[in-house]
Amino acid sequence: MALLECEGLTRLFGGLRAVGSLSFEVGAGEIVGLIGPNGAGKTTVFNLITGFLRPSSGSIRLDGREIAGLKPHEVTRRGVARTFQIVKPFPGLSVRENVTLAAFLRHRSRGDAESEADGVLDRVGLAHRADARAGELTLMDQKRLEMAKALATAPRVLLLDEPMGGLNPSEVDVASAIVLKVRQAGVTVVLVEHVMKAIMRISDRVVVMHHGEKIAEGPPASAVRDPAVIAAYFGHRAA
């Protein structure tokens, strides 16, 4: 059984079908890329899975248990964590305090939560900035913090929303390495991304969306050669 599955997932906004009958599975330990042109509905899918939006219909299951319609904090508690496309730190607090807050989900005492936070910060390479104010970090460090917050909730599935956005090529390499390390530690990853280099390098599989629907699925190398995918990105002439 897949760890995370969406079946017939649909979300309407008035007359607009942002996500239409989307079905895909993610197996434990996989890194799955969710790609597609802008406006394809990828972030909406993340919002649906993590409870920030209710599906209009369809089901979302984690380990066979239905999670569609649950509130975000409950989804996180069940083991699905996310990062936001535009990072959402707690800007007035220190980096350590940011991650400690997330660690409180699994650790009752402040001492335990703080140790867990320090461990996570080490893994994402932010330990040296633990006392800095979150609002004052560089973009790369903010992305690390975003990931650290999600990891501190000890998720089984991590949803990354465009983690490479705005990073330069060497930063993309660093970020990709962190994602691979995360998977090695046992976390399943689904990432929405436009930076093709990263997708090709780290995903086991990709799911391609266009206009809210799945148009292709498979290993990254073959998916990007699929005529439907090329047409979606570049228009029919190019396909």
């Binding site: 509130k71 975000p72 409950e74 730190p89 409180f104 989900l105």
Partner: protein, 326 residues
């Protein structure tokens, strides 16, 4: 807690114990009692507004529930003041939960406007449900019970018992605020204030946190209301459910310093003492002063008097460290 904080608390409690013996002037004691009562109310608002960042303009409703509960329990069932006031606090806390569940679906100014509407509705209910609240006539306590505490009979005509009660309630209010600021719930509230969606995303149940905080806030406001009922002995919708009361609670918390523990006390000291002085000398117009003071504080001291003091102290310390360490 830190050594300075512990010394501060000890000194405060000692001062409280000594004061009624040092100050004999009845009017001054009255003002002190009012300061304590308003500290409780300011702290109640501060818990929700300063810590949880939810600005309510309807706290008078919670105050009113406390006042009515206490006075009704006394007049109809002879419940003693201390139990009645406690019951008032509990009633207000319980009453705040449905209000919270409705209003917390809204954010920012929408939430504030909703609390305003709820409070006005509460006042309408109090005015019209005469079987419960005696309508516009209200309740009057003519004689207080002959009670004794630890063998000493309580003299309700003197200020002393009210002073003790008010001081105790104030310690409860400030103590709960201090506890909140250091607790896990307090940390969650900071997260919610910083970014509510991000807080949900890291597993914080934001609705539960807000409702619990509102319940604490309601409890404290209800305690204040219960005290009011016994001290002033008269409760009617205009006295305990009017929007001016809600605004005063906001003012005290703001003037003192949102999100601080001692802020409400400082705010109460300023607003109450000068307000009462104005009232004594000019009979009317103390609200003119409140409005003006509020405007001045927001314009020049948006962190409140205590908030600004703390900032200055912290900056002074870092400066000293920087200069000293070199």
């Amino acid at each position: 807690m830190s050594r300075t904080a512990a010394i501060g608390w000890a000194a405060g409690v000692a001062a409280l114990a000594v004061l009624p013996f040092a100050v004999r002037n009845v009017f001054l004691l009255h003002v002190v009692i009012l300061v304590f009562m308003w500290t409780v109310l300011g702290a109640a608002w501060n818990v929700l507004g300063g810590f949880a960042g939810q600005v309510s303009f309807g706290h008078a409703a919670l105050f009113g529930i406390g006042a009515y509960t206490t006075i009704i329990l006394f007049l109809k069932a002879g419940v003693a003041p201390w139990w009645g006031i406690l019951a008032g606090g509990v009633a207000a806390a319980v009453g705040s939960v449905p209000v919270g569940l409705i209003c917390f679906r809204l954010r920012g100014p929408y939430f504030s406007l909703a609390t305003l509407a709820v409070a006005e509705l509460a006042k309408l209910v109090a005015l019209n449900w005469e079987w419960l609240t005696n309508g516009p006539v209200g309740f009057l306590i003519t004689t207080l019970p002959p009670l004794s505490l630890f063998g000493h009979p309580v003299d309700w005509e003197a200020k002393a018992p009210f002073y003790a009660l008010a001081a105790l309630l104030m310690l409860v209010a400030l103590g709960s605020t201090a506890w909140l600021s250091r607790s896990r719930l307090g940390a969650f509230l900071v997260a919610i204030r910083e970014d509510e969606d991000a807080a949900e995303a890291v597993g914080i149940d934001t609705v539960r946190a807000k409702v619990l905080t509102l319940a604490l806030s309601g409890f404290l406001a209800g305690l204040g209301g219960g005290f009011y009922a016994f001290y002033f002995r008269y409760v009617d919708p205009d006295a305990v459910l009017n929007i001016g009361l809600s605004m005063e609670m906001v003012f005290i918390a703001m003037v003192g310093g949102l999100g601080t523990v001692a802020g409400p006390f400082i705010g109460a000291v300023f607003l109450t003492t000068i307000g009462e002085a104005v009232r004594e000398h000019f009979q009317v117009g103390h609200l003119i002063f409140y409005g003006l003071f509020m405007m001045i504080v927001i314009r020049f001291l948006p962190e409140g008097i205590w908030g600004r003091a703390r900032l200055a102290w912290a900056r002074g310390r870092t400066g000293a460290r920087r200069h000293g360490a070199a």
